[in-house]
Amino acid sequence: MDVPMSWLKEYAAVTAPLKDFMEDMTMSGSKVEGATSMAGELKNIVTGHIKAIEKHPHADKLVVCTIDVGTGKDLTIVTGAPNVRVGDYVPVALDNSVIAGGKEIHTGDLRGIASEGMLCSIEELGFDRHDFPEAPEYGIYIFPEPVELGKDVADVLDLKDDVVEYEITSNRPDCFSILGIAREAAATYKIPYCPPEITVKEEGEGKTADLISVEIKNPTLCPRYVARAIKNVKIAPSPRWMRKRLRAAGVRPINNIVDITNYVMLEMGQPMHAFDVDTIKDRHIIVRNANEGEKITTLDGVERQLDPSMLVISDPEKAVAIAGVMGGENSKISENAEAVLFESAVFDGPNIRITAKKVGLRTDASSKFEKGLDPNLAMDAVNRAAQLVEMLGCGEVVPGVVDCYPNKRETWELSYSPEWINKFLGTDISEEEMQQIFERIELKVDPVNHKVTVPTFRPDLEAQADLAEEVARFYGYDKIEPTLASGTPTVGKKTYAQNITTLVKETIVAEGLCEGMTYSFESPKVFDKLLIPADSKLRQTVTISNPLGEDFSVMRTVSINGILNSLSTNYNRRNESAGIFEVARVYLPKAVPVTELPDEIPTLTVGMYGKMDFYDIKGVVEHLMVVLGIGDRAEYTVETELPWMHPGRTAAVVIDGVNVGYVGELHPTVAKNYNIGTKVYLAVLNMEELIKASNMVNVYKPLPKYPAITRDIAMLVKEDVTVKQIADEIRKNGGEYLEEVKLFDVYQGEQIEKGYKSVAYSISFRSAERTLADADVADSMQAILDGLAKELGAQLRDK
């Protein structure tokens, strides 16, 4: 909302400097976005008088003017403009001046003659013929009357104004008007608010009611429709003061009738529309929903497709306007219109918003209507328009109005308690001050019963808390003393799950990986990239019905796509190695289509590539398990069922029989699908399961008092026997003293038969009661060796 300061000051005599004013308005709730200074860039352009014109000696199309700018020293200025005559008064850009667009003008040589400035057209002053109809279509602006010489042209033409831009929140449709902002400004500065006094003489013939009839078919979407007729309309440019205000507020002046509707819209916030009465069949206005398949060509010449959700203004035959959005070309005011109909109506905000969106036409009017206007404003607005018609002498106002207003919006009362408001705000504001604040924003106050009557333009005031806000913002938010809440003490903390999650992240960071962040929605094509079969349950997704595009259309059910994309980015930017992890959610629907909230499972995803192999990433996982107190309960079993993973290089991570995730190498085909030309290693762990399994309660175990006995064994086994099988077999037969089974060598090579590998373990035994002798472990060792030979075909190697 752009408000010219000069216009605002007519209704609230603000005296504060602009910068203070902007700050004060922001702090009282009308957020100022910024200010622009109309004609602010113009510099050193003054009024001048052409004393003589001579032909340019070296150029046919140029003339040399002698200009008096009131300094006593005439200037020589070369111009190519055809319209200047001796005796004209013109705007002169002096040496070192700035014209519109920030262009600097200096004395310069023009075909051998030093031109000491420039004569300006209206465009060079930043305006056009809409602002100054008397300006020539081409050429220098010539003042219609003699002017004092050497004066700032911006002052003489009254170009200057400061225009302040406000951000208006959706709860304050009343502030989408100069008067609304003026009311706020007056309340902010505790100065009188002086809206224009609206009186209409009604000197036209007949009665509006005889000229036009109105019928509202859908009063829900059109609560009020007011019409006034103007006869003997004389279309002409509006006066300069009106044109200036419109331009400053960002609206281009057109002609007196259109300008009046725009002026009232800006001033009061009520959009108006003007029809040519003769184009309305039977002079009967019907406000109705559009018919299926109905079309209308709007004033901008574009044919618009309508549907029955939209409201139109029509006559018995045809639609003449899309209600609240734009008028139809068929009812446009013609040059010789005999009578004009001013429409001042109120439409349902949300409906207008949706209609404007559907037809792709958000106009000044629709953007006002969509906020939801006060129906009681409509009558004042149409009368204000009539008053301006009389003031401008551009027509005769026909007596009477047609007012269709089935359900009048009434004012309402609210009770307030000064004690409650003070308690709520943490303030000590007097009852009188509260009362004054309410009165300044036009609430009627009953101080005895502590009641206010709310004007209908403030539908946001529904309860005492709303009144507290009014008090607070005019008292000053900044004056409310900051305090620290007393009351029941609470303990600030994270949940156990949050603490474990933090620990997991810190552990992975300590392993040298970087935390990443990825989008939680992706393309369904990801499933193909990951080689997930068409019938997989993972393809059942939480799907966005209005996505930004297919690439962002499904909530992920598999966590790795984001990390793989990130690794790909790094790989293709020639980053030698990368290790990225993320704790983020996967979204698993309970059923598709989704009718209840899905399970959101926090998942740790680790991805890396570079100088490393499977055992590097497995080391990361193992370390994490130790940190979470589950190092000895985590098992790693062969995992071949994940289509996106290398079937020979992936292990399932199992804790107490529960599969919590996997670690391994990415399937080479998938790596290729992500444009990664090297091996990629992944670990994916379900955080919920990890948190459940984690054990952060440690009980101290006494340090061993007696030494351990250690036996090293080396054996030959077939290469597909896993070390887990061997270790499990050793543990099975290890007896009561077995303490630790440690793998220390695996060898395949020259001295080993093909298809076999040599595996070496260090097995330690210990008793808590005494020092063990060789004899104490002899039986266990024998059982271990027998078991290995029998179950796994292991051949003991001599050391």
């Binding site: 709730g29 957020k31 308690k423 903390k493 935390e515 939480v542």
Partner: protein
């Protein structure tokens, strides 16, 4: 004998002084003090002395032995020091060579900022909560006083899943979920991902993060709201930070405010970053709307509260001077390693 002893002492002293290595010392020890050493040899001749001479010479011999032992110890210390000096000299390396690189891990800047903000509020007694991102219309809108057709629904371009399910556009639904549990008083913050239908560019992302805060108790005032957020802003941005509360509008708070903090770039002087205002908008806040309390089953006549919400990306970007939001989601190692 006297002369002999004297001679031995002098000879030994010279020898000890000349000793270059530990081995020399050991040799000298044997030579003079050993069982077959020179001093021992002399002492063996003591028997030949007269009764008068014996204690004198004995005394003298003892002095010599003690002197020799002392010299021996001194020589040892001297040599040990020399050897250590030699070793240290030999072990000299170029300490300006780079250290052995270890893979360095880093937290994401968003995590760092989120953790820091949560810590500040935990210090003030707030619990950290989390909630679903796929959310019901009721929690995201209805219960926050944003009924169907409310313009605020348009302002927050929502991703819909279907029926009454959507992707939350704000972390505010956690206000309702927390209040619904009925456990009072409430002091909580809730960080999390939120979704809005914004095309990706340098300042917009369809996925971003917010942190919500909610306090509900008896006698909570707007002064308390200001107090908590002033403490927070000073903790996060430094003791000199100034804040200002501007009236604003949110459907679920009344009164509502936006909190600005002094511009981190100019410290309040006014610059390009803050568009000359000296302040930068940090968060939205307000007193919980009585309607919202009521809908969540809390009696607004007995309880009051305040709520606030802030965009975390903005805080991270300001903190680290990041100008393109996309960097946060791209995960280039060269970027991630900077934090």
């Amino acid at each position: 004998m006297k002369e002999k002893l004297k001679a031995i002492q002098e000879k030994a002293m010279a020898a000890f002084q000349e000793a270059k290595e530990m081995k020399d010392i050991d040799d000298l020890k044997v030579k003079y003090l050993g069982k077959k050493g020179e001093l021992t040899a002399i002492l063996k001749e003591m028997g030949k002395l007269s009764a008068e001479e014996r204690p004198i010479i004995g005394q003298m011999a003892n002095d010599v032995r003690q002197n020799l032992e002392k010299m021996l110890d001194e020589a040892k210390v001297r040599l040990a020091a020399a050897e250590m000096a030699h070793r240290l000299e030999k072990e000299k390396i170029d300490v300006t060579m780079p250290g052995r690189a270890r893979a360095e891990g880093h937290k994401h800047p968003m995590s760092i900022v989120t953790d820091e903000i949560c810590s500040i509020f935990m210090g003030m007694g707030y619990e950290v909560a989390e909630g679903p991102e796929v959310e019901k219309d009721y929690y995201n809108f209805e219960a926050l006083n944003i009924p169907k057709n409310h313009p605020a629904r348009d302002e927050q371009d929502t991703f819909y899943i279907g029926g009454d399910i959507l992707l939350r556009t704000q972390t505010s639904p956690m206000q309702v979920r927390t209040m619904e549990k009925g456990k009072l008083p409430i002091r909580m913050v809730c960080p999390g991902a939120v979704y809005r239908s914004d095309e990706v560019d340098a300042t917009h992302s369809p996925v971003f993060h917010q942190l919500e805060g909610l306090v509900v108790d008896k006698n909570i005032t707007m002064g308390d709201l200001k107090g908590a957020l002033v403490v927070f802003a000073k903790e996060l941005f430094g003791e000199d930070t100034k804040v200002r509360f501007r009236p604003h509008h949110f459907p679920f708070t009344e009164p509502s405010a936006e909190m600005d903090v002094t511009c981190f770039a100019c410290g309040g002087e006014g610059c390009r970053v803050c568009k000359g205002e000296g302040y930068i908008e940090l968060l939205g806040c307000g007193m919980v709307h009585p309607k919202v309390l009521k809908m969540s089953g809390i009696d607004p006549d007995e309880y009051s509260g305040f709520a606030f919400g802030m965009g975390l990306e903005r805080v991270a970007m300001q903190r680290y001077g990041i100008t393109d939001l996309r960097l946060l989601f791209e995960n280039d190692m060269k970027f991630l390693k900077q934090f």
